[in-house]
Symmetry: C2
Subunit: 432 residues, 2 copies
């Protein structure tokens, strides 16, 4: 077993010992910012009060709203001339959220990304094609610097332009892709259209992230592109990519606990959930100087996976992102996450890549409709076959979400395709 | 006087001594690539034959077409695993041109950009907003790495989204911009629309490049944005930005001759032109390992400026880019460059930012029409005033280009605006 960083070989005790030292430093460092100086004072917490990892729970959480209110630099904890980079959210509503980095911050971020890539077998002689958008979005520059740290031959392709992506993959013999799941499926479909199969591509590994997706989607990506696809988790508030990453065992994502402290809490009570239970991921930076963040509420839903990973790393694993705390739909009083519906749909081999969830209210009663594309080979003339399939999907969905949906089967290509992130939920309730 | 790099203080003798050593190394290094191995053998040139800088002239030039034919990697001179980055042209026609870099190549490129920025007063405590596109285009990552090397607080804003650019400039107190001239004018106009003046902006310096433009355009940018604008020259085949750059005296761009050998030749005969005469710039890399290029025909037109610069740097200066060898229009048998027309137009204070050059053939005779936007304050009702202005423009254009154009004066806003590179010449000849 080869490791990129010694921290990958630490025992639980070593991890937690380092975490405590770094947490104390981080609380100290954070209190150099106007925001945390006030927030910690208000909560009556001095850096010296952090005597164990459990003491972190006394620190009030930080929300996206806090970041917005502190725009542009209220969380910055160093003199301005030490800052060398900022990243900002696209911020469709209200102030953008901004993260400022020092050179040390960028270096340790690049190390975390390089470590993640190395973990799944990426090496300096690989050719790495980055299909993420560059600029303010962290997926581009974040992964780019990691690949460069590793020494890969990096193609900063950026998003879109699928014909050129395929041309570059073939001409430069790309072995590693960074790609969001919906675009991976789109690329796979484009390959099929050109009469190419994934097996003919030189790609060996795909790093997939930025979008919640199911195990079935991952397997479909692996089959379409002829490679192994590894889940990546990150968010710009915690740098970007390189927060948690799957190892080759593909059994959940190891959180880089030498650089972050993850908690999973009940979004309503903020109490920790039982191990294995789904809750909101809360993250604390441990190595950041420019803008440390304490107990950031990510709004991402996941759970800790129990047991030890076969790879030997003791960094705790989280499940794939199971949705956004904000994506929760309340239908007939029941909490439902779109991911639950996707998971059921993708279990049917007849179901294609595209589906749409529509919510309407008819006579004040919520109606859930799921429109599903059926693969060409399965879209047969015999109505009885289709009706049987449709009933089976309704039944399995009802069992999963406890609400009976309407299911429409449609032909491949009749739902809108997207090159970017898929928008799969359309809520028309109260809008008719 | 402060310098970023000792090479900025070299005498002519030192520059040329280093050039000769590096040129020999470069020819040796280049002959490790399949392309130059064959090309140099064919020309009967061994690295040892380079005994003086003049011997460079015996080396056959390299063209864009050579780069295209050698796609994807025929000019690569190192083992593949040493490559860490590639940049590629957008390549609207034919194969893209690709440049492959080693880590050393990226480091020396970043040093050249950092040196250029330092030369015009940019320092680590500056806030630097990069409005270039990232990804495969070299203007984005190229300048970004230089700014980071210098230690500026870098905002990787990317192109477009003008409202957000202005918001960031104000919120983050941006002091240095990297911006193409046409977008600088667009940004200036957008500022005016928001009722802001350049003097209210925190920006002190703009690095402008990538588009040929006149001295008048520069002055207009400086006035609209309330800053000093410095010309930058680069092309992806020679890394990208950081090839030649203006010092604070704004009297031409110093070519970083410790990293490149510039020649200016007659595009037809390839003979060197007399000092001060306009010709095609031909460039040789001196520090590149991954993909050295010998005598690259840039197709860019410029001239060497004579005399010593007041800044004391002995690196030779070239004039702003006066056009593309390919942009040359032949009208009624006369060679005309669009830049000549722009230069005349911008001399008139009544003339706005936008103009369009249209070429049509009427009864087999070329007709040149220049449509010019007139600033609001000058677009008066009195036809005699406008007619006088129109005649003056016709006269000055005829004196400059030796062809009598038709000149149409139009109101501000009636010609199409562009957020990106301006397309100013429309050739309809033979298309009606
Ligand atoms: Zn593992
Ligand atoms: Zn000078």
């Amino acid at each position: 077993m080869e490791f990129f960083d010694r921290a990958e070989t630490w025992s639980r005790e070593e991890i937690e010992r380092v975490q405590l030292v770094r947490l104390r430093n981080t609380v100290q460092q954070a209190s150099g910012s106007p925001f945390y100086a006030a927030r910690l004072k208000e909560a009556g917490i001095a850096p010296a009060d952090i005597r164990s990892l459990d003491d972190l729970r006394s620190v009030p959480p930080t929300t996206k709203n806090d970041l917005r209110e502190q725009y542009p630099a209220g969380l910055v904890a160093v003199p301005r001339e030490q800052l060398v980079r900022l990243h900002a959210s696209s911020g469709t509503t209200g102030a953008p959220t901004v993260v400022h980095h020092t050179q040390n911050d960028l270096n340790s971020w690049a190390d975390l990304v390089a470590r993640s890539m190395y973990m799944v077998g990426v090496r300096p002689d690989d050719v790495f094609q980055n299909t993420s958008g560059y600029g303010l979005f962290t997926g581009g520059l974040g992964i780019h610097y990691g690949a460069e740290r590793l020494g890969c031959h990096t193609i900063p392709a950026g998003p879109g332009n699928t014909k050129r992506q395929i041309k570059f993959i073939r001409d430069f013999q790309t072995t590693v892709l960074h790609i969001i799941p919906s675009y991976a499926l789109y690329l796979g479909a484009a390959l099929e259209e050109e009469g190419l199969s994934g097996a003919e591509l030189p790609c060996r590994v795909a790093l997939i992230g930025a979008e919640p997706h199911t195990e079935e989607i991952r397997q479909r990506i692996e089959q379409m592109l002829g490679l192994k696809a590894y889940n990546s988790y990150g968010l710009s508030e915690m740098n970007g990519p390189g927060v948690a990453f799957e190892c080759t065992h593909q059994t959940g994502m190891h959180v880089w606990e030498d650089a972050f402290i993850p908690e999973i809490v009940n979004p309503d009570t903020l109490e920790p959930v039982a191990d294995g239970e789904v809750g909101e991921l809360v993250m604390t930076t441990l190595c950041r100087q420019g803008m440390p963040i304490l107990r950031y509420r990510t709004r991402d839903l996941t759970r800790f996976l129990s047991g030890e990973c076969a790879c030997g790393r003791m960094h705790r694993r989280i499940d794939r992102i199971l949705g956004r705390a904000d994506d929760m739909m309340i239908i007939k009083g029941v909490n439902i996450y779109p991911m639950q519906i996707e998971q059921v749909l993708m279990g049917f081999p007849e179901v294609g890549e595209n589906y749409v969830i529509e919510l309407v209210s008819e006579d004040f009663i919520d109606q859930l409709t799921v429109k599903v594309e059926i693969r060409d080979g399965y879209f047969v003339e015999d109505m009885r076959v289709l009706t049987g399939l449709q009933k089976a999907i309704v039944r399995q969905l009802r069992d999963e979400i406890l609400v009976t949906p309407r299911v429409d089967l449609v032909q491949t290509g009749s739902l809108p395709k997207s090159e970017g992130k898929a928008v799969r939920v359309i809520d028309r309730r109260g809008k008719e």
